[in-house]
Symmetry: C2
Subunit: 323 residues, 2 copies
């Protein structure tokens, strides 16, 4: 293992820590992915920290690096994060029942003192999407998964908000007085624009995900599938309009599990977004559909963004994330 | 007139250029308002520029300053602004029918070369409100006037967005399928949460503004007034929730013409905001009502913010507005 800091300048590791797996990438000094490692997540606080450590060590091993050759490690996690301290809370998906986990400090200590940057997973996905798609300008990463929420990259910085609620658009009303949402409100956007909503509206069959099955059936002209797809795309287009009329982001990247559908998703949402502006010169002037992008399926944007955030933090202090 | 730049260091002038009047303030180096001038707006491009020039010159005369003693002049205007060039477009309220007005350049030239910073009026109101109310942290200035829109101050910087659409929440749907909005969509928030909406729901009588009359009648127990007031406050509370669940601003300052109602407006909106979270632990955890503030009636936040923006721009470059 090299201990020469000049041999591999600027290398960093990024992790996407999820409930089922930890996906890690190793970026070289130019920001290119050089190695990828995936390990099932062991539950609980020590399991999560241990899995993360294992991924970082395996990435370094594959590159012939020592951990202390890294300029930093970034970790994207579901839940509320205090980026200043690397503390994670409300991470029930990770099987963490403690109120808080000092993830940054614990992982850094296990890795011999390397600096660990912890961020919300949607935020690092926004950073990674900007890099992978080569997009400059303000960007929202709109995750269509179990829930609906956005990571926001504004003015080159991550928008975290006062209590980590920035981008929590899934719990804004879409159909006032609609069905009850688990959050306690009614008619939330999440009940219409999420992957979980599709599972209800188009129960999975044929052994493939609801979204893939729905879009395939709609493409074949099944009238019910067309109706369900269009209703879903309307709700996603409403989410996009919401991001534009609040933050005026230049790009909205569709991501999350539903984005595995690929181009047909992008086309359906763009079409409904055009339709929403049919009668509104004001909305047309904002060119909402032209702002849509699709996350690439072959590039793990969240761990890439985590690695970039770690590197930028080392270079620019805790607030600055330069993509 | 003094020409000694050290005699009054850091003085700046700020203008709020509206369709009926130009309101100007002169700030001393400590950011305190030292003089105020109000002049009816003369219509058209040369009228607007001439009125603005007159206000700046009168402010300087009152203080015994020369215009070239100012570190800068800031102008808040309704319409789309390119802050880099000081160019204003879509300013129909000012009687400007040219496609664009080089307001910054023209006013600067008339004032002997002083630097003029042009910003959207809601953005400078956000800056001014932060200063006047002594608020640090991210802030939205929610203007409840003819329309509904917000000026956003995030991370110490104005959020302008790609096409000046940041904060244009008045044209998000509040009642899907509701009545037609002049923007071409249906059921927009602006039809429920604006001063114009109150004029329709509670036609002015007794010679006073609809909002004042409505809130007075509701306070006296008029059942219809209570119903109209609560419906209005519900819509405003929805706007506040929208700002929190997208940008997670720490403060939402209620401003615009309707804010002349004062504390009863703040109480009504806070009460409806509490009610919206009654069944939602998630929403309660975000403490939305606690983020509400009321713009002070005795301090002109827009011209104060314009003057501060001008000063910060001189000190910190075009992007930085430090409050």
């Amino acid at each position: 293992m090299s201990r020469d800091p000049n041999r591999r300048p600027g290398w960093s590791a990024g992790l996407d820590i999820g409930g089922t797996k930890v996906l890690g990438v190793l970026l070289d000094g130019g920001g290119e992915v050089r190695h990828t490692v995936r390990v099932p997540t062991r539950p609980g606080a020590s399991g999560v920290v241990g899995t993360a450590e294992e991924v970082v060590r395996r990435l370094c091993d594959e590159a012939g690096l020592g951990v202390d050759d890294l300029v930093g490690v970034g970790a994207g996690v579901p839940g509320l994060v205090d980026p200043a301290t690397g503390t994670l809370s409300h991470a029930v998906n990770l099987g963490i029942h403690e109120r808080e986990l000092e993830l940054g400090g614990m992982l850094g200590a296990r890795l011999g003192g390397v600096r660990v940057t912890v961020e919300n997973d949607l935020n690092v996905a926004a950073v990674g999407a900007a890099r992978v798609l080569g997009l400059s300008g303000d960007l929202a990463f709109l995750a269509l998964g179990t829930g609906v929420a956005a990571g926001l990259l504004l003015g080159g910085e991550l928008r975290r908000g006062r209590r980590g609620a920035a981008g929590e658009i899934g719990h804004l009303p879409y159909r006032p007085g609609g069905p009850a949402c688990p959050c306690g409100q009614r008619g939330c956007l999440e009940l219409y624009a999420s992957g979980a909503a599709l599972d209800v509206a188009w129960p999975p069959r044929n052994g493939r995900p609801a979204a893939a099955d729905l879009f395939a059936a709609a493409a074949e002209g099944d009238p019910l599938a067309v109706e369900v797809r269009n209703g879903f795309a309307d709700a996603v287009a409403a989410a996009v309009r919401l991001l534009v009329l609040t933050c005026d982001v230049e790009h909205v990247v569709l991501g999350g599990g539903v984005a595995d559908v690929g181009e047909p998703l992008l086309r359906a949402v763009a079409e409904r977004s055009h339709g929403q502006a049919d009668d509104s010169p004001f909305l047309r002037s904002l060119a909402v559909p032209e702002r849509l992008r699709l996350v690439p399926r072959d590039q793990p944007v969240a761990p890439i963004g985590a690695a970039l955030a770690a590197r930028a933090r080392v270079a620019g202090g805790p607030r600055t994330v330069v993509v």
